[in-house]
Amino acid sequence: MVFLQQLVNGISLGSVYSLIAIGYTMVYGIVKLINFAHGDILMIGAFCGYYAFLWAQGSASPVLAVAFAFLLAMAISALVGVIIEKTCYKPLRNAPRINALITAIGVSIVLENGARVIPFMGPNPRQVSIPEAFKGVFALGGLTISKVQVLTLATSLVLMVVLTAFVQLTRTGKAMRAVSHDMDAAQLMGISVNRIVSITFAIGAALGGAAGVLYAMNFPMINPYMGIMPGLKAFIAAVFGGIGSIPGAMIGGLVMGVAETLTKGFISSKLADAVAFGILIVILLVRPSGLLGKSAREKV
């Protein structure tokens, strides 16, 4: 029974990581850039959620409050994502990949420390006031799962399906796949690469913002540095599942969450982070392209 409950805990935690990982993997899949600032987009989304819930505090409908939080977070995160892309990543599009990687780390640091000095974000932790209807648990035969955890799991699954459908079935999705195959050839075919990359970042950041709102609902203490650890773990999840593959990110997140929780529950809580990063090392040694990733062979 305890094992099953820990499994439930692991899957809930994992679905949070999955949601963040989906944003990571999408951006990488199209632009081949690991956006290390994704964890901080999560933080921005969380702060938007905080303010949305604060302003919606008197409202009668909790569903509306959550929808408002999502809308606000996704809109502002998408905006921030596009601004970052246009100012920091676009100038480096033809530079070696490591330049963009280092820039991403720089953007991450700027966002964290910038949030510290902005007065309405500030360095102090804030408590998020979740609508009453979302507090509380479902008890199913001895197992407890909180309402927020159910919402998180549901949202991750829905977003995964919607995103895969978008990328596979729409024209813009086709354009995104073309850009990811060969940027120059796509341009020759008449695809506006700038527009596609901006859309990619906007969607990726919007996903990060949504993940931020759900993270804030799960763990209602937010602060400017909250995105670092989840961002890192989600990055590992994305790599584990195959960076570039959306179902891979989902699986990777769940595996990370379950591994971390089972380690804390049955081995030792001190080893939990070690196990998480150990997974990264193992997967890079054994199958670097990840579980569902394509092993790209260089044809010489």
């Binding site: 305890v2 407890t144 763990f219 209602p220 203490m221 529950g265």
Partner: protein
């Protein structure tokens, strides 16, 4: 070609000179020390996870300084408080302390606030002979560094004992579980003293779980604890983390009372129904029936429009302690102030304070209870009992 290179070289040289000059000019203000003020430093976490403690402590110290100056100052001079923010991060405390000592030449320090931060600077304070009075660091090893380190609060060994006794005797708990932060000396110290005292009384520790600083998900540990069915759960950490732990504990099905220590101060403003029926030890109760407490609370409310928490009261006492010691010493000579501090024996806002041979005061603790408040989801703090040493 040759001339151009020389020209650039000259430009580089003068640019470097300019930068050096700029640095010197920037440092000039620090060199001027006024000889008609006595410099007292304070290092507080004005921002970060325990900022409410830091802000109130700083404000209380400032209030004490203002009161002392209004009454004529010390040795005919005014006291000047220099404030540094360490964000409850030990590395920053070290930098703050160095800055205060070298730039402002403080004779005494009210700080640090959290035990890990104080532990980072005590060796240096002892070496430099700066009287350090920590208002609120309760970890036992803080005063081990030497005879210039004092504290205004009780120790964790006492606090852990108090909570263990309260759990066993007042709440009738036979079994207990602990969930603590094993990267924080404050949390570790409390876990050790609670475990020792609880088992000595006859209780059993059914589960001890840990997490690291910055963790937000405790469901795994709490599920394990819930399956062991303790009578109470001890959570010795600061209010920002405790609020997360408490929420997840209730979700995991832990309905028993949770106990805490002085790090829970301000929990009522940072948590909701999940902490109803919980207890924590603290340094004073703002609604105590004591004239000194009433005067302090009224003055603080009038000046800062907020109710002072326990750490504010301790910072206030620590500042007064230092001022009194300097008066008694008759000079700002470090050894004289140190000797005068040892003679402290007075009733302050947080109780009668006199130092034992390890420069720790022997004081009482109050136990506060969190009950359902009048406003939904906002618990109220009520005084439960006082435990004497």
């Amino acid at each position: 070609m040759r001339n151009e290179r020389r020209g650039f070289h000259m430009f580089k040289k003068s640019a470097v000179l300019l930068v050096i000059l700029a640095f010197v000019v920037a440092l000039l203000p620090a060199c001027s020390a006024t000889s008609n003020t006595i410099a007292i430093g304070t290092i507080m976490p004005i921002s970060g996870p325990v900022s409410t403690y830091g802000i109130q402590s700083r404000d209380a110290s400032q209030m004490a300084i203002d009161e002392i100056n209004a009454a004529g100052g010390v040795l005919g001079k005014k006291l000047q408080l220099y404030v540094e923010d360490d964000e409850a991060t030990p590395e920053k405390t070290v930098n703050a302390f160095t800055k205060l000592v070298t730039q402002h030449k403080i004779v005494a320090l009210v700080g640090g606030l959290t035990s890990p931060c104080t532990l980072a600077i005590i060796a240096d304070a002892q070496k430099r002979k700066v009287v350090l009075v920590t208002p609120s660091s309760t970890n036992d090893t803080v005063t081990d560094a030497g005879n210039f380190i004092f504290r205004a609060c009780y120790n964790d060994s006492f606090q852990g004992q108090v909570m263990a006794k309260f759990a066993y005797q007042n709440l009738g708990a036979k079994t207990a579980a602990i969930i603590f932060d094993n990267t924080n000396d404050y949390s570790k110290g409390l876990k050790d003293s609670f475990t020792a005292a609880f088992t000595a009384l006859g209780g059993t520790l059914v589960d001890t779980e840990s997490y690291a600083k910055g963790d937000t998900d405790f469901n795994a540990q709490l599920t394990k604890i819930a399956s062991n069915k303790p009578d109470v759960l001890f959570v010795p950490d600061y209010y920002s983390t405790v609020s997360l732990v408490a929420k997840q504990a209730r979700t995991a099905g832990i309905t028993v009372p949770m106990l805490g220590a002085d790090g829970w101060d301000e929990i009522a403003n940072n948590a909701g129904d999940e902490v109803d029926g919980c207890y924590y030890s603290n340094h004073y109760s703002p609604d105590a029936n004591d004239q000194q407490v009433k005067d302090f609370v009224a003055a603080y409310k009038a000046k800062y429009n907020a109710e002072p928490n326990a750490l504010a009261a301790l910072a206030y006492d620590a500042t007064y302690m230092i001022a009194d010691a300097i008066k008694l010493a008759g000079s700002t000579d470090p050894d004289a102030i140190q000797a005068a501090m040892m003679k402290t024996n007075k009733k302050f806002v947080t109780g009668q304070i006199s130092f034992n041979e390890k420069r720790n005061p022997v004081k009482s603790a109050v136990i506060l209870e969190l009950v359902k408040g009048d406003v939904a989801n906002k618990p109220k703090v009520v005084y439960n009992t006082t435990v004497n040493p």
